[in-house]
Structure formats: C-alpha cells, structure tokens
C-alpha cells in the first residue's frame, strides 16, 4: 500500500533506509528541522543544515522514487539560546522558496520555559509574515500535557492562525482530543520507547475517527523505527479495518493537509501518474 510519512528525520538515516521505505510503499515524506543531538554553535551550522534539507536529501530520496519535503526552524531544545534562535529565524526566509519547503517546523516546546515560548511566538510571526503552514512538536513524557495546552493557547489566541494549516504532532491519549476539538490536524508518532505504539495509534483511530488524523514514524538518530507506518497498516489490517480507512490515515489525510502548499500538489500529482 502506498503511504506518506509526514514526519521523519532522514538526515539521521542511511541510504539503505530509503531503499527499505520505498520497498514498503513510502512514496513521499516530510522532514521537519530538529535537534541534532547537540546544541549547534552558530547560525552557519543551521544554514548548512537547511542546505542539506533543501538540496541533498531530496536528491537522495529521489534515487528511490520518494518525494522529500521539509520544514524549517530552530527547535525548542535550542530555543533557550534566544540570540542564536533570532539569528536563525532571520535567516530562514533565504530558504522558503526552495521547491521542497512546506513551512515552519517542527516548532514547539520542550521543557515549557519562557524562552521556549518566546521563540515559539517569534516562529509563528515568521509563518504568518510569509503565509507558511506550521508543523508543531509537542513535548515528551511528563511535559507533554502541559506543553501541548500551552502551545494550543498560543495558537488559538492568534486570530491570524488558521488551524486547518497547522499539524500538531506527537499527540497521545491525553492530548489528542483537545487538538482535534480546536480544529487542528493531529499526528500520532509511533516510537519504540517514548510516544505511542502502532497498537495505541490504532486505538486512537478507533476512538477518535479518521478526520484530520495521521500517523508518522519520526524516525531519527534515536531508538526509532522508520518503518513504523507499515507496522500500523499491519495492525489495522489484523483488526479487520477496511482498506479505505487505512488509506485515509496513511495517504489521503497527509496528502490533503500538504496539498495546501502548491509545492506539494505538483509533485504528488507527478508521483500518481
């Protein structure tokens, strides 16, 4: 079955992973900018990172027939360095016209601090100024509930933000309802240790339905599994769900959300020919 991984960090994965994903049905992916595992020292590090995301990765993916898209930001972990964050935010517009850039992301909170919230709001200003879609990172573990509510507060208090153009990722059982009720798209991240499993993602689909809901692997340099979406497909098949429901979650919903960008529409049409 063809599928789209809406959130995966391929800069951390090998070319073999591209081959495996292609064999399993992955036709397109979006890669939000994230933390490298260490705090970067200068804006030039981010400029090189954004070149990798907008130039190198699309070529590597294309070798396996996978369309690669990306989102740009400085992540919440590094937002504690406010001056560096502002330099990076000022530099991002250099890359916004690249053919695979879908918007600003993954922005969010990590430890739910004042500095993180300040830089989050400045990213939102950037997205509004350049009419960009937004991809949201919500915190992990005990910080998730509080941080998700704080993020939703910041977004919903801003009348310029259209929730249908915002994807809130890493939702779990205690945050999904609030995200969907406020009109945002929600992404379930399947991760072996933290976040949720394919089984729990299937439970949330059964509980909350398929509208504005998608699933991703968030495969990165940590203990993650880039083939988590095929695992979810298998779980849903084993539970007896129809093919149409599965396709809506893993293909049609991400396609519908990303199609709001003209860049995505043209390339996905090409994949489907």
């Amino acid at each position: 079955m063809d599928y789209i991984d809406p959130h995966i960090h391929m800069v951390s994965r090998t070319t073999d992973d591209y081959e495996t994903l292609a064999k399993m049905g992955c036709v397109a992916m979006s890669e939000p900018a994230f933390w490298a595992g260490f705090d970067r020292g200068s804006v030039e590090s981010f400029r090189d990172y954004f070149r990798q995301l907008t130039d190198f990765e699309p070529k590597r993916a294309a070798q396996y027939g996978i369309r690669h898209y990306t989102w740009l930001c400085i992540n919440a972990k590094e937002a504690e360095n406010v001056s560096l964050s502002r330099e990076v935010i000022a530099m991002i517009p250099e890359f916004l016209d690249a053919p695979n850039v879908l918007g600003i992301g993954e922005i969010g909170l990590n430890k739910n601090t004042r500095n993180e919230a300040t830089i989050f709001l400045e990213h939102v200003e950037l997205a509004v100024k350049y009419n960009q879609q937004i991809l949201i990172h919500t915190p992990h573990l005990e910080d998730k509930y509080q941080g998700t509510r704080m993020i939703l507060d910041m977004l919903t208090q801003d009348s310029r933000i259209d929730p249908s153009r915002v994807l809130v990722d890493h939702v779990e059982e205690h945050t999904i309802r609030e995200v969907l009720d406020r009109g945002f798209w929600a992404g379930m991240t399947m991760y072996p240790i933290s976040k949720c499993t394919p089984q729990r993602a299937a439970d949330m689909i059964e509980t909350y339905g398929t509208e504005r809901l998608m699933a991703n692997s968030a495969g990165d340099w940590g203990p993650s599994k880039p083939t988590a979406i095929p695992d979810l497909i298998l779980e849903l098949k084993q539970r007896g769900h129809p093919r149409a429901l599965i396709e809506k979650i893993v293909y049609q919903n991400p396609n519908q959300f990303f199609q709001q960008s003209q860049k995505w529409k043209s390339i996905v049409d090409e994949v489907n020919r």
């Binding site: 004042r114 910080d143 509930y145 208090q157």
Partner: protein, 119 residues
Amino acid sequence: MVRSPQQILQNDYLIARAKIIEVAAVLDRIDRAAASSAEAHAKQSTLNTGSGVPPRSDASPEASASSGNAVYSDPSYQKIQNAIAILSDRLPDKTRRIQELLSRPYTPDWMQQFQLPAN
C-alpha cells in the same frame, strides 16, 4: 468496533501478561535492593555503635534514605502505585487517566506568569 471484546482479550492477553510481569519485576527489583540496602545499613550501624543491637531502619530521614526505604515515598514510586490503582478500577479511559497522572499540571494563567504578550 471491528473485533469483539473476547477476540481482543484473546489477541492481546499475552501482550498484557508480559507487560504486567515486567512491572512486577521492576517492583521486585526495587524491593530486593531496598532490603539489601537496609541489611547493609543495619550491619554498619551495629559495627558503629558496638551495642550489638541494630537501630530501627526508619529512625531518621537520613537513616531511612541510606537504608533504601526512602524509595517507597519517592514521588515516582507513588505514581507507579497510583497508576496500578487506575489499572485495577472499573472506570473507562485508563490510558488517558494514567497519562494525566504522569503529567505536569497545566495552569491556564501561564502566559501572565511568563509575562508574555497576549495577541
């Protein structure tokens, strides 16, 4: 729902069984370490006092901590116990309730506390 409750139980019983045993094993591990620590502490105290009578392991917070019993009042341990209580009740939404139990609280006036501008 696509599957019946009985089918779900049949399919997921071994998964639930394995995970409950993992939790039990973690608690046993803590108990063994606490008992071992208490024993070592009692021996050391006996040697120190020379009285031959081991002191109570809960005689003071310091003694309790060094004996290993402090783990039972650790907030993380208490959270596990409270989560187990949710597993045992007959109310719905166990996953969401346990997630909330294991979460930091949200306060609606956080923006004022951070002195952030409201749009």
